[in-house]
């Protein structure tokens, strides 16, 4: 866990980058999320204090935009593309398979903190549909039977083993 002082110092460093510009709230939240991979409550409180913006407004912005998460996310974020091209090629079935295999619903994180499952608007890789993205890797032309193998690759990665 992040100690409150540590978070405050980090938030101060980030807020200072924008020289007190109140319109930079979204950019500041993005930087905080880059740091912690989610928005810790202490960070939101700290932003309120340092920027002199009501907490309700910080919370409003943090919850309005899909890119922000108020909950810690898993080590690997599995994003299922739900763009139109992926949809007509059966992308939704991949999401359901992932939900079954990971035993979580879309938007949740596995108990061990390994995987978060999310949907994303469109990755613009329509020629490769249907696709999912894990970390930087886009997995093209996926069928449901390939999902277990892909998940195993990342588990192996976590344990430091190289495996294709």
């Amino acid at each position: 866990m992040n100690s409150e002082n540590e978070v405050q110092a980090k938030v101060k460093e980030i807020v200072d980058r924008y020289a007190g510009d109140k319109s930079a709230l979204i950019a500041i939240l993005q930087d905080v999320q880059d740091e912690y991979r989610y928005l810790p409550k202490e960070a939101l409180v700290s932003i309120q204090q340092q920027m002199n913006i009501p907490l309700s407004r910080v919370y409003e912005v943090a919850t309005f935009y899909d890119a922000f998460s108020l909950k810690p996310r898993g080590r690997f974020v599995v994003e299922v593309c739900t763009g139109t091209a992926c949809h007509v090629q059966g992308g939704i079935n991949l999401l359901e398979t992932l939900e079954r295999d990971l035993h979580i619903k879309c938007g949740e994180t596995t108990e061990d903190g390994d995987f978060s499952l999310e949907r994303v608007g469109c990755l613009g890789c329509c020629s490769l549909a249907p696709v999912i993205r894990v970390e930087e890797d886009v997995h093209p032309y996926l069928t449901q039977d390939e999902i277990p193998r892909i998940l195993r690759t990342y588990m192996a990665k976590k344990h430091g083993r190289k495996r294709e």
Partner: protein, 638 residues
């Protein structure tokens, strides 16, 4: 980089750029490295080529370019051999690299067949062509099809995407070498702001982001608006699922957007610009950031640009994942650091926009057209396309079509030409059913209208819209009710919730469509959907809600029989809606390979090896996994 503030300095940079684009003594290799190319494996191919060059000490100029357009042929690699035709190779894999380089060096193409060759390069900014070939085309290469002969390229005219896949987007000199920033020089040194606006009006350019509002008139209103501080904004929050042409321009040719914005700012009288880029486009953000820094150090941004006394600067702002921020007033709220909620448009953003100041907002593709209009003149531009929709439009042609990728065509090209010629028709022997344009605000165009020429008004009349240019092709296995449900569900998630007709309207529509797809549709549902559509169109605050019923209305207009089959016969004719279909094994096709049995998550498939399998309908959850893996087409949908 030294300042480029005179014509002489600009010419000098152009010469350097041309030397890089057409090296005299070495082979230049272009590799398309857009986001989707990387996903298709181009990074690995790039690395393999780089390694080969290193180990064999080859004299090559290896260059990363933006999207070359034809994504389904990625990774694409081009070779520009001095004085020889440009050779392009498709679907290059790592293992082919050594042979490929070897054969190109010796121009002895034994096993590697080029996709096409090109003998010259066109520069749309000057109208000139530069020959790759000096003398005759070598006999060994003469039988390779020319680029213009490939149906995918034959009808394309590249204005907005003129440099995508041609230049290294991180190299300013290559952009200048293709004629870049000469239009800015012309605008600032030879034209008055009013002349520029007149020229853009004469060009007939209409906003490429969806609305189709005449760009020149928008600039005129913003110039005439009261106030000394004005802003220009580039909308790069491309959110329509299935549309990615703006990303390709931002990634592959960021300076074209910046140059367009500087010209627009000068015409309008703005000193500050913003580029608002979608959060999901990290490469676009990186390339734009770099390009803005280059433009600053070259003096295209900053004070006294080209000695004209005009000053302008650009900031880049990242979106945070909200589709509604593509709407201009929501985007402006987001730039101000607020939640991206639209406001009613009785006050126009050209008068009261960002920070309540006059603000002119255009999208990426619109801005990138501007330098070409200034360079060639509005009259020239208006000669391309149709009377009411001039110029070209970039479409992303995706879905159930053979050639998937970006296609920039003159307005007025028919849907048939786009789908059948450029797109190469429908794969796997299936039949064309419809094409969806305009994203979640658009609609479906059925086969009966396949000869429709694309243009703002033509698409509107057909119940769809141009939108940002997504074109999703659907075949007979696409369910139109499911598509309507898909778009309405998308909008239900993305509605900002500020006004009731949109917030509750899209949710109720989604519920009704979910019921219909689940076999629980009732008589009267169709009429109810139509009534709700009217209320939403009349009562919503912004275009998101106002156009939200379009996917429902257009599918009802052309495919009402499919809705009726779902509601009355509890049948999904396309075989998509899970509650209305059953999977069955065809006994004489099944070889008993057990592949489907292994993949079934609910153990619904029964049967021993080499025996005909069976599906237990009480356990089947219609996940399609068995249908997808069967290599013998032994599983059918009923």
């Amino acid at each position: 980089m030294s300042k480029i503030n005179t014509l002489e300095a600009l010419n000098k940079a152009a010469k350097k750029g041309q030397e890089a684009l057409f090296p005299a003594k070495k082979i230049r290799i272009n590799i398309g490295m857009a986001t989707n190319s990387i996903a298709a494996g181009s990074k690995k191919v790039y690395q393999a080529i780089a390694d080969e060059i290193n180990t064999k000490h080859l004299k090559f100029a290896l260059t990363k370019t933006g999207s070359m357009g034809l994504d389904s042929m990625e990774p694409l690699v081009e070779f520009i051999v001095p004085n020889k035709p440009k050779l392009s190779f498709a679907k290059v894999t790592v293992d082919k690299v050594p042979a490929l380089l070897d054969q190109v060096i010796n121009l002895n193409l034994d096993t590697e067949t080029p996709f096409y060759r090109a003998d010259e390069q066109e520069n749309i900014l000057t109208g000139e062509k530069t020959a790759y070939v000096k003398g005759k085309v070598p006999r060994a290469l003469s039988s390779i099809p020319m680029m213009e002969e490939i149906p995918y390229y034959a009808k394309q005219v590249k204005i907005a995407t003129r440099n995508c896949g041609v230049i290294d987007p991180e190299n300013l000199e290559e952009y200048i070498g293709r004629g870049g920033y000469f239009a800015l020089y012309k605008a600032l040194t030879e034209m008055s702001p009013d002349q520029i606006i007149e020229d853009v009006i004469a060009s007939g350019l209409r906003g490429r982001g969806g609305g189709g509002f005449p760009t020149g008139w928008k600039w005129r209103s913003c110039r005439d608006a009261k106030g000394s501080i004005k802003y220009v904004i580039c909308n790069g929050d491309e959110g329509d699922p299935g549309a990615y042409m703006d990303r390709s321009v931002m990634e592959g040719d960021p300076h074209s957007v910046i140059e367009g914005m500087i010209i627009g700012a000068y015409a309008i009288g703005a000193r500050q610009g913003y580029i608002y880029v979608r959060n999901e486009y990290p490469l676009a953000v990186a390339n734009l950031t770099k390009a803005v820094a280059q433009a600053k150090s070259a003096g295209f941004l900053g004070k006294n640009i080209f000695g004209s006394g005009f000053a302008f600067d650009i900031k880049i702002s990242k979106g945070a994942g909200a589709f509604v921020c593509g709407e201009s007033t929501a985007l402006i709220a987001s730039l101000e650091g607020k939640a991206g909620e639209p406001r009613a448009k009785y006050t126009h953003t050209v008068e009261h926009g960002l920070w309540d100041r006059p603000t002119n907002l255009n999208n990426v593709e619109t801005w990138s057209n501007v330098p070409v209009i200034i360079a060639r003149g509005g009259k020239w531009f208006s000669g391309i396309g149709t009377k009411t929709s001039s110029g070209t439009k970039v479409f992303s042609l995706v879905g159930k079509v053979n050639n998937i990728g970006l296609a920039e065509v003159p307005m007025g090209t028919t849907i048939k030409e786009i789908v059948n010629e450029i797109g190469g028709g429908i794969p796997q022997g299936k039949t064309f059913k419809a094409v969806q344009t305009g994203g979640p605000s658009g609609g479906c165009i059925p086969e009966s209208l396949i000869d429709l020429p694309v243009g703002f008004d033509e698409l509107d009349k057909a119940g769809s819209m141009m939108g940002s240019g997504g074109m999703i092709v659907m075949d007979n296995t696409t369910c139109m009710v499911d598509i309507a449900k898909y778009f309405v569900s998308f909008l239900a998630q993305e509605s900002c919730g500020k006004c009731t007709p949109c917030r509750d309207g899209v949710r109720r529509m989604r519920d009704i469509l979910e019921d219909i797809c689940a076999g629980q549709g009732q008589e009267g549902d169709i009429e109810l959907l139509k009534d709700m559509a009217d209320a939403m169109m009349d009562g919503s605050l912004c275009a998101l809600g106002g156009s939200a019923p379009n996917p429902v209305l257009s599918t009802l207009r052309y495919f009402q029989d499919e809705y009726e089959a779902h509601i009355r016969d509890k049948r999904c004719p396309a075989g998509v809606c899970k509650a209305l279909i059953k999977f069955r094994v065809v006994a004489d096709k099944c070889t008993g390979c057990t592949k489907c049995r292994k993949v079934c998550p609910t153990h619904a498939v029964k049967g021993n090896r080499k025996e005909v399998h069976e599906i237990d309908q009480t356990l089947c959850i219609q996940c399609r996994a068995c249908y997808e893996v069967c290599a013998f087409n032994a599983i059918i949908i009923e």
